[in-house]
Subunit: 339 residues, 2 copies
């Protein structure tokens, strides 16, 4: 199944609960906006493109649940829902992008049920388009990989970060599909181990060769010549920086030091071209993510913790950005890319 989808039978959102992977594969159903927001905040669904689909389906869910019988009231309900959904995670831009696009679609409706039909159709479009974009992006990116390459990646920018296929891992899947032998070096990605839990699991399911390392080993393996390219996803690309999972910036510095190409794979919906690093809020997450692993204590219970979810990689550390519209090299004229 897709990472996240709409269930027409029960008018609800279904998703794979990513907090349990790879130990348990469980599909959960969100029948209320509150349960969707909880799922987003707890990272049951995560990854910028998947969050886009989650946000869009959230508007469709709100439309289904609203008892409003006139257009103004329903529109008001959906705008409140939009605000609630967008507040769950401030850094990923795709969430807001997809919510806004779904809300904007309302203008084509003539009555409340028209709104309901249109927002659901738009959400389904967003999900379908995500897969198409990733396949296109994957084909462009695959041309950058050579047979026999070992690609380092961080966090999970794979099928489970999108509706399907993946961005960074989509590039790898497309290269493998084109007959190239690609090995992946997956960074564990503390504190929530999306690399260790999800990227490894995804790639093993597809029989793609993957080796797990700790985040701190990245410099050592690059120095030893064990890495040919780095590909990561993105949560937001401003005019001057790529926001992605914490640890991405460290990899970009190491890649530069070792003259290893550092690629960012992301759909155009990740771009926020008129914005700048200094204006973006980096989400700070709960200190207990570093004090406990599930229920197991791993540090003093009262220790001070600094736990940003993302970091910013300046564009000068990026070799190229891989999108569904092609591969872009510096200078990154985002406005021209988006047009």
């Amino acid at each position: 199944m897709r990472t996240i989808d709409w269930n027409d039978g029960s008018n609800s959102i279904v998703m794979i609960d990513q907090t349990l992977l790879p130990m348990e594969y469980r599909v959960i159903e969100c029948r209320t906006l509150a349960s969707l927001c909880e799922a987003i905040r707890s990272l049951r669904v995560r990854g910028a493109p998947a969050l886009g689909a989650a946000g869009a389906f959230g508007i469709a869910l709100a439309a289904t649940l609203s008892s409003a019988d006139n257009m103004d009231e329903l529109t008001r309900d959906l705008k409140v829902a939009a605000k609630t959904i967008k507040a769950t995670r401030p850094t990923a831009v795709n969430l807001a992008w997809a919510v806004n696009r779904t809300i904007d679609a309302i203008s084509d409706a003539y009555d409340p049920d028209g709104i309901r039909d249109i927002v659901l159709a738009e959400a389904k479009n967003i999900a379908d388009e995500d897969i198409l974009k990733n396949k296109k992006l994957g084909k462009y990116g695959a041309m950058l990989l050579e047979d026999g390459d070992t690609v380092m990646t961080h966090c999970n920018a794979g099928r489970m970060a999108c509706v399907d296929w993946g961005t960074a891992l989509g590039v790898i899947r497309s290269a493998v599909e084109a007959g190239k032998q690609i090995r992946v070096m997956a960074c564990e990605t503390r504190p929530l181990n999306q690399g260790g839990r999800i990227t490894t699991w995804e790639l093993m399911q597809d029989n793609i060769d993957v080796t797990l390392i700790c985040d701190s080993m990245s410099g050592h393996v690059m120095r030893r010549g064990m890495v040919d390219k780095v590909i990561v996803g993105a949560d937001r690309i401003t005019g001057d920086a790529v926001f992605n999972k914490i640890g991405t910036y460290t990899l970009s510095v190491l890649a530069k030091e070792h003259e290893i190409p550092f690629y960012v794979a992301a759909p155009i919906s990740t771009f926020d071209p008129d914005n700048w690093e200094e204006n973006v809020t980096i989400e700070q997450r709960d200190a207990n993510e570093l004090r406990f692993f599930r229920d197991v204590q791993i540090a003093p219970a009262e220790v001070k913790v600094y736990n940003p979810a993302f970091d910013a990689t300046p564009m000068e550390n990026v070799t190229a950005v891989i999108t569904e519209k092609g591969v872009f090299y510096p200078p990154f004229l985002l406005d021209e890319i988006i047009v």
Copy 2:
């Protein structure tokens, strides 16, 4: 109590079991060479200087346990014990250094009981000297720190890595003792979390301000100007490189990128000046260290893992080496330092 010590009452080695910290503080006793070797291999005792004391006390323990009644036989027994102990961990040079020094002391003995007395006295000297050296080293290093500095450190090069006081954390303790306000940023140090578990615990016990971060956050906090200096310990310093806990090299590259001084604090016994990086074996540890945290699964049980315990930082990334003989800057003429 000291991290590791000799118990005269029971003729055994006592140590704090570091695998349980900070959740449990348990003192264990090694009455056989097998239990000592298990403790070293499982990292119940770890840290290069503490391993030196462990190795020396191991020879004393072997001498106590041996029933040999002539010098040749006892010497043979101790040489076998020396080989067994040195094989437990190949990278840290202090272990071999202390074992060899204890064995060399035998030459002053006239009879088997003289050997027994001499090796025990020598082991106790090594332990006592370790503390004195760390205090000296700490004083030299403290002069490099300014009031208000935030110091990043990796793994645990503290009291628990030595007999007492510490190397990298010894420098911080000495600076605090001299009245400077120092904040510490402790990297978690995957996969065994010595930074998250032990460094934080040690510093909190001493009321030194410490903040825990994930290893991957190191670049981000440096870029944000949150780090003034980096100080790490060392397991072996060859003519061309510093071997230390995996992740050290990554920090050295990041420090260079951000023009942050990168200091290595280690006693002279860590130096292996006639040796070169290419000849040093880097210990590979069990893959399950990345698949499980204690009994909790954190990655696919069958995932391929690369798990080197150490990495090598080339001397050109090191700002200075802090020893009990002073602070040394490039070019590092190790032979001259040791004389």
